[in-house]
Symmetry: C2
Subunit: 343 residues, 2 copies
Amino acid sequence: MTRPTIRSVAARAGVSKSLVSLVLQDSPKVSPERRAAVLAAVAELGYRPDPTARSLAQGRTRAIGLVLDDLRNPWFVDVLEGLRPVLHAAGLRPVLAEARSEPDAPRTFADLRVDGLVVIGTLPDLALVEEVAAEVPTVLAGTRLAADDPFGVDVVAGDDAAGVRLAVEHLVGLGHRRLAHVAGTGPVGDLRRSAFEGAARTGGAEVLVETGPLTEDGGHRAGRALLTRTDPPTAVLAANDASAVGVLAAAADLGVEVPGALSVAGYDDTSLARLRAVSLTSVDNAASEVGRLAARRLLDRLVDPDAPADLQLVAPRLVVRATTAPPAGGGPSTDAGPPDLRR
Amino acid sequence: MTRPTIRSVAARAGVSKSLVSLVLQDSPKVSPERRAAVLAAVAELGYRPDPTARSLAQGRTRAIGLVLDDLRNPWFVDVLEGLRPVLHAAGLRPVLAEARSEPDAPRTFADLRVDGLVVIGTLPDLALVEEVAAEVPTVLAGTRLAADDPFGVDVVAGDDAAGVRLAVEHLVGLGHRRLAHVAGTGPVGDLRRSAFEGAARTGGAEVLVETGPLTEDGGHRAGRALLTRTDPPTAVLAANDASAVGVLAAAADLGVEVPGALSVAGYDDTSLARLRAVSLTSVDNAASEVGRLAARRLLDRLVDPDAPADLQLVAPRLVVRATTAPPAGGGPSTDAGPPDLRR
């Protein structure tokens, strides 16, 4: 009951292994009689070509390189959950590398002759990605370029400006008029910050900004700086969940009650936000859908390398949990009307 | 000021590119005169062979495949922190895959012709690892085999039995006499569970066991089952930090104060345990040191493929934080003596 091989097919048909290969490749060099004999042996033995052997014979590895920005920040896990089923269904095998520790990862994958590349999160080295994208079909997922698409690479990302607006409108709707942002850097950090400033001003709120790093420690420092001001904010939107958890820790240290005296929201809706002890209001940036669409985009690109590059933005969603509430002293000021909690 | 290439060396020396290659490979086929001309051109131009091109020419990829068990459980991050500098210093480039979602990852890496393989955490498919280890130098890091080393593969791991003993002695030393374990499965889960049962009985404590899964949800269910018993435990050691955080959430739901009415300890000392809002007592299993030693073991194995396989265990360390304290009603019972908090 061993699995039939190309060798057993050849023996059954009374031909050479290489002739079996020619038939499986649909070569016109094979006579109709010998083709029929080989196909009969294939059917009798139930032979199925090994997909790995077949793709190696075609000079393809069927491997797709995925470059992640930072393994310590779990937001990429949902992107992978979206990517994988699409790649698997196409017979492709994801392999990963972390750009933070392996800045040459796109080159490593090109050297390993992967069939395609997906760069997830903040770009490691724009020039290197540009260089490799010229050799290997490449899609950027969950990140943005500083300018729009300077070298013709496909991009699939969450709509950060829309996500920040959802969070700010939630806080303004609750009655907050003094909002702070813990800001990141790079194209995504800049985008979230400018969207925050725009949406807060549109909502008639004052704006304070502290800059990360977007780690728990960075959020803790930013939170302490904000809460020890003479005029502290009543609500904070951090540019990711890890830094929001740091703001929560700073509030706890200083005896500032959340959400009674301070509302805190994060971004990315990672597993951290969903921990029962954290229960953080956060913006779900549809990471799984970003992954799914990025994988489909890559498959399209493999079929049609010359199609024009495409930018797809996926709509985010606000998840309200236990860390946001109306400010102490009641709801919105009279000129803003009552809070509309149904929105 | 462009970087000199093998082509520019050949032009300067007045020879072919392939003759330059022969000289760089120290081939005996080259005449002394032409060798001298090539080496002079190399020195004049400051030519240095590109390490990637050289290794590809030698049929080596300089890539090392790292198979992780589950990207959602951050314990592996410290293993990578230990592995990477050693691999980088040897000019090797790590690439990753997750065994949970890519059970064929060892085969994928073998097909990509990696120079070596490190399997981190619970083994995906023992038969497949055995098969690939016969083709590619392989080291297991931070995991154990059910029996000792059934197929001659190097293993570097934390000493789980010693780590569990440290945690149990801490809890017994505080005065706890009714201990529960949230247990995992597989070789590591079995090892931690049997070490727990042995150490608790040695300490004169009663033993309760609930089985995972070792996620926050699994810990939450196990914690609820333990705390709603008519005879609940006064202390819980969970087999990892994620499930310990679930036990903390169950205690909070039921109004059981930690550490006043319940002590909770985790295992692995991940970033989760270190979060300020969690501050979990946990066993640091020296993951970074495990990674460092595993990388060194792999380098030794690349040099000497026929050396006998080796098992190295690394000593763990208990990190006491805010979730463990003497049981309600005071310290240890009289027959155990006063708690020795200096240990």
